[in-house]
Symmetry: D2
Subunit: 491 residues, 4 copies
C-alpha cells in the first residue's frame, strides 16, 4: 500500500503561520506612476498575495482604478492594464485574503477604496486593523451611509465624506482621530500624496525619493526595486502631505511614543528591508546568535526551516560552531496553495513544498531553526519528515517567544484557543511536537537581537509585543464587545 | 530623474542560464495514477516550466491525454482535470519552451506523444535530444509519415509505427536503435510501463517503488514527493519493461560504459536528488570546498547568487572560514518572467528578482559564488548591484569550469559565439565583467567534488562534459549538416 | 479590385436604432427564485444586452448578488452561478450599455443596486431615467453620500438610506417622491417584493402569478417563459408590496392619468407581449394596415426590413394585396457586434447581418417596411443593397412618425441634431436616402393602430410621444440645466 | 404549484432536426485572405456551429493554422487572431459537433487538416462523409500511419502522403479516387487553391470571383457577404485548380451524372443562397404552394414554425388565401443551447426559444407549417404550446416527405429506429403528435417545387433523396460492416 494516504495532514500554511494583511505603496511626481506602483507592490507581495489594486489620477481623464485577484506580476504588468492607469500620481495595495465564512472573496473588498466627495475625489490604502470599526460602521449606517465592502477600512472613507473640513488632508485627520487601532494609511487626491501612521506606529511606513518624485511604502525593499533612496521612516503619529515637490509634516494625534510591531522583524518584513537603520536580516541573524547562547545543545548540524528561518539558523551555526546545512529543500514552484486540490494532493501537505535531503540528515543530531510556532501542526510535520529521513535527534529552536495571544492590529491570527502556547507549557509543547528539545528565544533576547542592548523595558516597552506578552497597547473595542478576555493579573 | 530607465538591461534569465529541457515521470499499478504523475511532475518542474502533459490508460475508456501550458500546480491539480485522466497507469512530461522563431509555442509540441498502432496505442515521454532527428524526419516524410509537431521526439513514434516487430517493447527498441543522441524515454502501452536510457546514459532516469506499484522518474526528488522509495538508477543503455508487478531488464544497444551529464550535478538537478548514491547538495557543497582550495582570496563575506549558488557558497565559507551571508534576497513571487511587460518593467531586469541587502555588503570585500557563467550578462548586472550597495571588492567564484561549447544533448544553450568563455580568456572575462577577481573551478576539481578522487580520466572520461571540454561523445549529425565545427586538435 | 473596401459603412445598429435601456424582473415565493429570474431576464434580453444582475435572499445566508457582462444565457445559467444565488425571493436587471466617454463599462454600474440600511438590506432594479438625477446626486454628495456607480439609479438607494421612515416600503416611497422622470422599479427586502411605476407609467410593469408565487416583469413575454399567468398591469403611479402571498396596493404619488410610452409598441416590446389586453404584434400589423391606407403605392412586392418591420409589412401586404416576400435574410449568428473588429470587417457593416435575396428583388418595384428612421444611415445602406440587387423601384414605408426629438425617459437617443427628422422635411429625407418614395405613418394613424379609434387626443394625449411630438410630459430638469431647448410655439 | 417543472421536455433541437456537418470556404489572390475566410465562414455558420478553423499561407512565414471552438464572430474576428493568419491564400471550415460517446470534442478533430509532405505542405477542408473511412483507416494504420484525430477526413491527408504522384493536385486525385461517399473538398498548397466534388455532387460547392481573386464556398451566401460574384457551381465529379489567376478544370473520376442532396433545399442551405440558378427561398415558397394544393384544409390562419418553415408558410398562405401570421415568436438571444443548464432550465425546453402569441392563436383553426419531422418530439411540444394558447384546431403541414432513412453522406441523423416515419404510418404519426391533421409534401411535389416540372425521375432520380426514399446512391460500406440493413424490395 502506498504510504502517503495513511498520513493525512493539512497544507503547510493553513493557519500555522501568522499572516500580514497588507502592503501599501504610493508615488507622486513620476511619469507613468502606475508602473512604479506595480513594481513597488511586487516587492511587497509577501505582505499580501490574494489581490491588489492601483488607483491613479491624470488631469484630463480623472481618477482610474483597477483591482484584481492574483499576483501583481500576473495582473498588473501588461501594457493593456497599464494603459488603463495613466497619470503621475498613484497609490496601490496588496492584501491577504480574509474572506469570512459567508462566501468567497469579492473584488469590492480589494483596496484602494475611493470616494467622490463634494470637494473632490480621494483614494486610500490602509495597512493595519481598526479595533473600533464595528462600532463606527453601525453608527455610520444609522446615519445613512451605504457600505460597499465588508472591509473595516471603508469606515475611513465614510468618515471623510461626512467631515465638515474644507481640505482633504483635514478631513483625513478628522476621520483618523475617530478610529482606533493600528493603521498606516497612504491616500491620494488630485494633487496630493498623503501618508499617516497611527500614534503607536504599529505598522511600518517609509518615505523615499526618486528623481523629482516622492514615494511612500510599507518597507524599504519597495524603494530598492524602483531605485528610490530611503529618506526616512514616517514617525509614529506623523502625517505627511506631499504636493508639488514639497512635504509638510504634522502630528494630528499629538505627541506619542511609538511601539511598532516587533513581529515585523521576526517574520513579516523582507530580510532586505531596513528598520531603524538596520537590516531585518541582521536582526534575524542576531536572534540566532542569542538563541545559541540561551539554548545551546550538542548536535551535528544546524538546519533552517526554509525560508524565513534561514538567517537565524546561520546566526545559530556561526555562534555555536556547528555546521550549517540546507537539509530541507523548498519547491520554488509552490504558490500559496494548490487550487481546488484533489483529496490525494490535499493530503500531501508539506511534501508539496518541502523535501528533506536525506543524505545530509541521516544519522545526524539536527538543530532545526524555525521562526515561530503558532498552532504547532507544521512543526510536527517537519519533525516527522526529519525523523523519516533518519535523524538521530531533533532539537527545535524557535526565533520568537511563544505566540500565546492573538493580534488585533492587522495580522491574521487564529483565535486564542488554537494557539499552542496559549494552552501548553514549553515542556508540553515539546512532548506534543515530539522532539528531543524545544526552546524559544526569550522576550529579552528578542529585544536584544533587535538592538535594545538592555532588553525589554517592562515599564514602557519599546515595541508592541502583544502576541507574546498579552499586553495590548490599544484596547480592542470590537473584540471586547464580542467577549474577548484580556490578560488578567494572574496570567 | 529616476535612475532606472537609464540602466536598460534584459531580464535575468534570458539566455544567461543553461536550461534543462524536460522532466519525465511514469507510474504503474497505483490507483488514480494521474494524481501521482501530477505530483511527480510538480517535483520536476525545475526541469521544464512551459508546459506539461499526462497520458493515462483505463481499460474501459482507453487512453486519455491532457496537455497544457503552465505550471503543474495550476493546470494539473483540479478535480476536474484529474477526472479526465482515469486509470492505474500513466506517464507525464514537463518541458521547457523551445519555441522557434516562426511563432508561438503550440500545444501540439507538448509531450507525451501518442500513437495508435495496429498493435495498440503507445505514449512516450522523452528527455534529451536526438542528434539525427532532422535526417530521420526527412526520411520518414518521404515515406508518407505526417508529422504533427515540430518536436524531434515525434520521430520515435513514427519509427515505432513502421516497425515490423510484434510487440510494443520490440518496436520501441527498433525505433531507439535508429536514433542517435541523448535520450531517457518513458513509454506506456495498455499494460506496460517502459523506461530506457541511451547507451551513454546522458540524461538521468531512476526506478522507484510505492506499495505494489512502480515508478520511473528523471530524479529521486520526484520519488520523495509521493513517498516512493528509490530502487536504483536505470543503467546507461538499459531498458526496463514493467508489467503485472514484474520488471524485465534488457540491453538493447549492447554493452556500454556510461557518461552521464556532469552539469546535472552542477545546476540542473535539484539539490535534494540523489545521484550515484550521493546527494547533489553534497557535490555542490564540495565544489565550494574545492573552489576555496583552488582559488582562495582574502575577504569579509561569502555571498551566494541565489538560489543555485548557495550550497557551493556554504562549502566555500566552511572551508575558508570566511562568514557566510545571504547578501542577495530573491523575490519568491517572480515567475519565469513578467508576461507582456511594459518597457519600464522590462528594463528592471534583475531587480524584479534580486535585491541586495545593503547593510550586509556595504564596505565589505565580497566573494560571490555563482553556479556558472554562460553569456556573462547576468554576472555583470549582479556585480553592478553589489557595487551600488557599496562593496569594497567583488570576487567571483564559479562552481563550474568555463562553459565554452554548446550542448546538443537536451540542454538549451546559446550558439557558441554567444558563450563568453568561447571568445575570451579568464582574464578578459574578469575585465569584461568588471570584478576584482574571477575564478572557475577546474575540470579536475569538479570531478573530485563529484566523487572521482583522481579527478577526470582524460583517456575515458567518467562524465559527459562536452560543454566544458568540447569533447562530444556522440557526433551531432544534424548540427554538422548545418555547419557546426567540432573542436580541432589546436583548441 | 474587390468592391467592398470601397463601400466603407458603419455597423448597422450603431446609433441608428433607439435602444431601450433596461428590463426588470422579480419573483417571490418560488423555490430557487434565481432560476426564474434568469429565465425572465432571458425573455427580456431584447431590452438590454450589455450586462445583467440578479440579487436573491435566503434567510440563513442573507443577500446574494451576481452581476456580469454578457447575455443571460451565457452568464446566468450554469449550475455554478445558480448555486451562488439561493433563496425564494429574487430580482434581476438587464441593461443596455450607456458607457460614457470616460472609459469602459464597469461592473459597478450594473444593477440591481444594493444598500445595507440600519433597518436591513434592500435591492432595487430600475427601468427608466431620472430627469433630476444630477441635481439629486450633487445634493447627496454634499451631505456625505459616497456613490459607487455612475448610474442615476443609485440616487434611489441613497435617498432610502437617509429616509427617517421605519419600513423599507415607506423609505422607497420617500425616495421616489423626490425623484423626477420615468421609472418602473422592482425592489426587494428580506421578506418583500415591491413594484412601482411613476405617475405617468412611462415604462411598463406587469404582475403575474405562478403557483403560490408572484412575479413582476417589464413585459408579459417574461411571464410566458416561466409559465406564469398575467394578473394585470401595474397602474401608472401605483405601488404594490407583496409579502407572504398578500399584495398591498397604494398610490404614493396621488391620483394620476397615465401616459405610457407609445414607442414600446412600435419597437421596444416583443411582438408577443400584451399591452392593454392586446398583443404588440397586432398593433404593429395594424400599423401596416393604416400605412397601406395612408400611403399606398403601386409595387410588385412588400418586403420587411428584418426583424422588427415584419408584422407591419405583413399588414401592409394584406391590406394592399401586394405579395409579401422575405427579400432580406438576417444572419442569426450575428450578436450585438463583432468584438474588436479588424478594419476590413468593420467596413462590412450591414452585410454581416443582412443579405438581399437577389432573385426575389431583381427587376421588382419593392415596398420596404421599416419600424423607424433615426439617423437614416441604415436606411441608405439597405436601399443600396436593394438597388445593387436590381430592384426597379424602392418605396420606404415607416411604421412610426418621424423621430424628431430625443427621449429623456430611459431610451438611448442621439442628440437632437443627429436625428434626421429634426433637420429635414420628408421630401429632403426621401432625397437624402435616395428612394422613389418615403412615407411615415401619421401620429393619428399610429394612435388608431394602437387602439385609439379617434386617434390622438391632442388636449390630453393618451401616450407619451415626445420623440415624435416634442411634447415632454415631464420637464427634463438636468437636460435643461445643460442647455437643452424645449419645443417652442413656433415649431 | 408552478406548472413548468411538471412538463419536463428536452431542448428543442436535440436530435429533432437533421444537422449539416460542415461549411467550407477558400480564397486565393486576395490580400489578408483570412479576413475573407472569416467572413465567408460567418455566412456559413448555419452549416456548423461547434468549431471553426482557418489555414493561410504566406511565403516568408509559411503555413499558419488557427482552430477554435465557438462561433466565427467570437473567435475569428479580433485583430489579434487575424495577425496570426497572414497571406493571400487561405481556406476555412466550420463544423457541427459529432463528439462521440467517449468524451468531449477535441480541437484536434477541427479542420482544416494539414500535412507536411515531402513535396510541401497541403491543407484540406472537407464537407461530407466518407462511407469507407473505417476500412481505409484500418489499412493505413497497419501500414504505419499515425492518426491524430478521430475524423474520417484525415484519411485524405494520409492517402496523399503515401501517393507517389509528383504534384499535390495529382496526389489529391489519387487520394479521392480511393475514398467513397460524399465529399466537397477545398484544399490549398503554397500556391494553389483546389476544389473537388464527388462524382454525384452530393454536397454543394460554388466558385466565385472578387477582383483578381477567386473564391470557393459551400453556398452563394458566402460569396455575397464579401461582395464576390458567382461564377458557377462546381460540377459533380469536377476538380478545379486555381493558381496565378488561372483555373484548370478536370474530371478525375470520369464522367458522372450528379445527384445532389435535395434536403439542402428543404432545410440546410440558407434561403438567400442560389442553387441551380434559383434561390432556395423560391423553392421553399413553392413547396408551400404545392402543399396547399396537395393538402388543403379549412382554417383561419397559416403560421410558420420559425424560422425555417417561414417561406413555405408564406407560399401556403398565398396559394390558399388564408391569412399569414407570425403566431410563434423566436427569442433571438438563444444560442445553440444553454451551456451546462440547471435542471429547471433544461426542462424549459422549447419555451427558451419559442413563445406563442396567444392573441393571434386563441380560438383559431391554425395551419402550422414546419420543414420536417425527424423524431417528432418537437412537433408535439409545439402542438402543446399552440393548444395551451387556445387554438381551436391544429393542422400540421410538413415541407418535406417523411424522413424514414438515415443519411450517411455528411448529415447527422438519428439511427433509423429513432425516426418517427420509419416506424409509423402517417395516420399513426398524426395521432402520436396529437393534431387534427398531418400532411407531408409528396416526393414528386418536392421535386416539382425544386423545378423538376415532371417530378421525380424514378428510373434515374435527379437528386439524392435517400433519407426519404431509402435509395442510397452510394453503398455505405462501413455501415454495412456494422450491420446496417438496406431497403428491401418489400419496403
Amino acid at each position: 500500500m502506498p504510504r502517503f494516504p495513511a498520513h493525512p495532514f493539512e497544507p503547510l500554511n493553513d493557519g500555522d503561520k501568522l499572516k500580514e494583511e497588507c502592503g501599501i505603496f504610493g508615488v507622486i511626481g513620476l511619469t507613468d506612476a502606475a508602473n512604479f506602483v506595480a513594481l513597488g507592490l511586487h516587492a511587497l507581495q509577501h505582505r499580501g498575495q490574494e489581490a491588489g489594486g492601483i488607483v491613479t489620477y491624470e488631469p484630463e481623464t480623472g481618477f482610474h482604478s483597477e483591482r484584481r485577484f492574483g499576483y501583481v506580476r500576473d495582473k498588473f504588468t501588461s501594457a493593456a492594464v497599464m494603459k488603463l492607469l495613466p497619470g503621475d500620481l498613484g497609490i496601490g495595495h496588496v492584501r491577504y485574503s480574509t474572506a469570512g465564512s459567508k462566501g468567497a472573496a469579492q473584488i469590492r473588498d480589494v483596496q484602494p477604496f475611493f470616494g467622490e466627495f463634494a470637494i473632490g475625489g480621494c483614494a486610500i490604502a490602509h495597512n493595519g486593523n481598526l479595533t473600533n470599526a464595528a462600532r463606527l460602521r453601525k453608527d455610520l449606517i444609522e446615519r445613512g451611509a451605504i457600505f460597499q465592502s465588508s472591509s473595516d477600512s471603508e469606515c475611513i472613507i465614510h468618515l471623510m465624506a461626512r467631515s465638515l473640513q474644507k481640505t482633504q488632508a483635514e478631513r483625513l485627520k478628522d476621520a483618523l482621530r475617530l478610529v482606533e487601532g493600528a493603521f498606516s494609511v497612504i491616500a491620494m487626491t488630485r494633487t496630493k500624496l498623503m501618508g499617516v501612521r497611527d500614534p503607536l506606529g504599529v505598522r511600518p511606513l517609509v518615505l523615499g525619493r526618486l528623481g523629482q518624485g516622492y514615494v511612500l511604502a510599507s518597507e524599504t525593499c519597495a524603494l530598492d526595486i524602483i531605485g528610490a533612496e530611503l529618506v526616512r521612516e514616517i514617525d509614529p503619529g506623523e502625517m505627511v502631505v506631499i504636493e508639488n515637490g514639497r512635504i509638510e509634516s504634522s502630528r494630528p494625534f499629538g505627541a506619542s511614543k511609538g511601539r511598532s510591531c516587533i513581529f515585523e522583524q521576526v517574520y513579516f518584513s523582507r530580510p532586505d528591508s531596513i528598520v531603524g537603520g538596520r537590516s531585518v536580516y541582521e536582526t534575524r541573524h542576531q536572534i540566532g546568535v542569542e538563541l545559541a547562547r540561551e539554548a545551546p545543545v550538542e548536535a551535528d548540524v544546524v538546519c533552517p526551516v526554509p525560508d524565513s528561518g534561514t538567517p537565524a539558523a546561520i546566526g545559530y551555526a556561526a555562534e555555536s560552531g556547528i555546521p550549517f546545512v540546507l537539509g530541507i529543500t523548498r519547491n520554488q514552484y509552490v504558490g500559496r496553495t494548490f487550487i481546488e486540490p484533489t483529496d490525494a494532493i490535499r493530503n500531501m501537505g508539506v511534501r508539496l513544498k518541502l523535501n528533506v535531503n536525506r543524505s545530509l540528515i541521516k544519522g545526524k543530531r539536527v538543530i532545526l531553526v524555525d521562526d515561530s510556532v503558532v498552532r504547532g501542526t507544521t512543526s510536527r510535520k517537519i519533525k516527522d519528515m526529519i525523523l523519516d529521513a533518519g535523524a538521530a535527534e531533533v532539537h527545535f529552536r524557535i526565533a520568537s517567544p511563544p505566540t500565546a495571544w492573538p493580534c488585533f492590529y492587522g495580522v491574521d491570527t487564529p483565535e486564542r484557543s488554537k494557539l499552542l502556547a496559549a494552552t501548553m507549557t514549553e515542556e508540553e509543547m515539546r512532548e506534543w511536537i515530539g522532539v528531543n528539545s524545544l526552546k524559544f528565544i526569550s522576550l529579552d533576547g528578542l529585544y536584544r537581537a533587535a538592538g535594545e542592548a538592555q532588553g525589554r523595558d517592562h515599564a514602557s516597552p519599546q515595541y508592541c509585543d502583544a502576541c507574546f506578552s498579552g499586553e495590548y497597547p490599544i484596547a480592542p473595542a470590537d473584540k471586547l464587545d464580542e467577549g474577548f478576555k484580556m490578560k488578567t493579573a494572574a496570567e
